[in-house]
Amino acid sequence: MIMPHWIEPHPTGIYVRPADAWIDPSVPRERALVTHGHADHARGGHGHVWATEETLAIMALRYGTASGTAMPYGEEERMGGVSIRYVPAGHVLGSAQIVLEHAGERVVVTGDYKRRPDPTCKPFEPVPCDIFVTEATFGLPVFRHPDTGSEVDRLLGALHAHPDRCVLVGAYALGKAQRLICELRARGHHDPIYIHGAMERMCALYADFGVDMGVLRPATGVPAKEMRGHIIVSPPSALNDRWSRRLPDPITAMASGWMRVRQRARQRNVELPLVISDHADWDELTDTIREIAPMETWITHGREEALLHWCMTHQMHARALEMVGREDEDEG
């Protein structure tokens, strides 16, 4: 078991001692290295943040944070004897793995990641390393995300089969919503898409970074009949809430890796579960560990027991870190 003295997992984040900096800390810290903009990784209130330009913009939008150093992908920054590099993670716009090197050892912290293509962000780059710190949101072999295109086709199929209704899709406001819209465009759907008010600013931010989502319209203040035959995207929390009452007889859909399990979909009253996830599924997690072949794997959050067991049975060293406050249900 390797236990480098210079990098320490804590419940509130990973502490990089020589750099005196924390990775994705869940409490305010003087110096924070942030992998991506989701709330369970990026919190407000830090003194100084190192992150990609996109992540800094997302944090500024969400928390109004001021002080930050933009880290372009691939460029090295030295911090107290540690070399630090941000590498694409393929999770959402601006998401990065943080590659740290010190004393001849290399550690990669993935944050959250996925391996399949996403039109809104750069693909995951595997970096060989000694310690690979991975997520395990979908760390059970029952989670195997189907082909995204076929899921999007099911959504379009439901839309076209019910021209008098609309399809309301619950999708996490940062990442999933924008990716889903781009995937719909890629399948030839060019009608205006209506979006919940809580998503407008994030979609505008994506557009500023060059993500083309076609014609988006606010769903608020629009007469119900105008939305017939259209797709409406909202945060999952609005699916069954008062907000959705104004919509014309919606078919309730949700885009999430959790939708693979029937009971999870039924709990949310979802009629059209779409298994579209921004996280690695079981096969991606295990294939990635095999590909990177680290000396040791650290598992941050999710269903770590199963992945731990898999590593053991494949003769690989692994340990589970006990992180607090990770994994927002809506986000998968």
């Binding site: 059970l140 072999p141 029952v142 069954n240 809430d241 693979r260 199963a306 067991h309």
Partner: protein, 532 residues
Amino acid sequence: MRQFSQLLDGLVYTRSRNGKLDLIANYMREAPDPDRGWALAALTGNLDLKAVKASAIGEMIRDRTDPVLFEMSRDYVGDLAETVALLWPKPEGQPEEVDDGSLTLSAIVERLHGVSRAAAPSTLAAMMDHLDASGRFALLKLATGGLRVGISARLAKTGFAQAFGLDVDEVEECWHALSPPYSALFDWAEGRSDRPDPAGTPFFRPFMLAHPLEAESVDLGDYAAEWKWDGIRIQIVGTGEQTRLYSRAGDDITGSFPEIAQAFVAHAVLDGELLVKGEFQGAKEHGGAAASFNALQQRLGRKAVTAKMMDDYPAFVRLYDILLDGDEDLRALPWEQRRPRLETIVPTLDPDRFDISVLIEAADFEGLADLRAGARDAAIEGVMLKRRDSPYVAGRKAALWYKWKRDPLTADCVMMYAQRGHGKRSSFYSDYTFGCWTEDGELLPVGKAYSGFTDEELKWLDRFVRGHTVNRFGPVREVEKSLVLEVAFDSIHESKRHKSGLAMRFPRIARIRRDKPAAEGDTVAGLKRLVS
């Protein structure tokens, strides 16, 4: 298989009845033969393969995957078939999560029919490799018997009828003359042949139902009166050789009440109330007592019944009407001509299992009202009024049959918790748990209701819940104990299942008492005095 597995998925996720009917109808129109016939058999519970036991499925998956990972997955997912369907690893080189289209539903049924218990797991495994997760789930459910997609046989038949513009009752009439994969049925539905001949097989006829009585009174010269019994309506269809029992929805419940079916050897179709023997409701002067609905409930919804169940909760039928006597259809005759026919046949039946619903002798409507009021002590729900000159017609036809329930009991209760409804009500907190006060000044839940209010009142209640939430437990909100609801209910019983020791029958919100302070709500002790 994909068409069928997509249908099952759709049925699982669709909440509305019409939505489910549309799904079934579309499938029945579009799927090829004989797949759709097998699908209809599966949906109506007439496809009993039982080729594989659950334990064999466990064995099959342990052969393919790490048993520890399987157990972890099963802990997370819950359902065995779903876990295996999701977890199933395909052999190297096969595309993941694609139904390759090589297996039709009929091919699957054929293979499962022919397979031995010993060979079943390997046959099943070979088929799993060609399917996607939905297909594997459907396959495992078919193989172990029991789809459990939350639809009744009647609903499946209604969907089939809708697909081809048929009357479901006509489908029902010939149903038992058919067997899977129902090619004769599809031939008739698509106009290639005449309707299959149901001669000699028992089938369901739709029930005649009653409206609540709203008029001040009726003339007993025009209407006959009977006691209203609190059981379930049942139709007994006997051909002399076979007997089948149907619930109000047209579901075949023969298997749940074998003692009734076995005791009935007549060639007739009768309508009555299924009850359990006991002393709870009614007395000798009402034509005999019966146990409570709760007792009957122990017997409902069971596929197989044990001898002990039949001993503890012996069933009988109190007969109301006769639809067919032999092959003679009496439905067009007026009630006053059917009744003597019923009175003639009942003495020929096993008196241990069948009796007749007696007519109430009252001089006039006021006299009847007195008798009805007096029946509260005997825990009788109310009175039925049947027009003497009316034929037996399907459904609820105005002014022919009335149910005149006892005036409901009411209590002023305090709202404690609220939960969101389903379907169109999924954005509203529409299910309310309410309580009454104990001697120690504590509120104890006494019931739950989700009806009785208008749409406007629902909006108001929803706003109240949102504005007065003090705690959240998943989908449930605890509210400030400040709103009094006047709750109406038909009766109240002692119950060991509730902390208050009470269970209401048919509770509904009668009024929102914004004017009344919560402290003036009723007490649990007061409710106990209403126990019948």
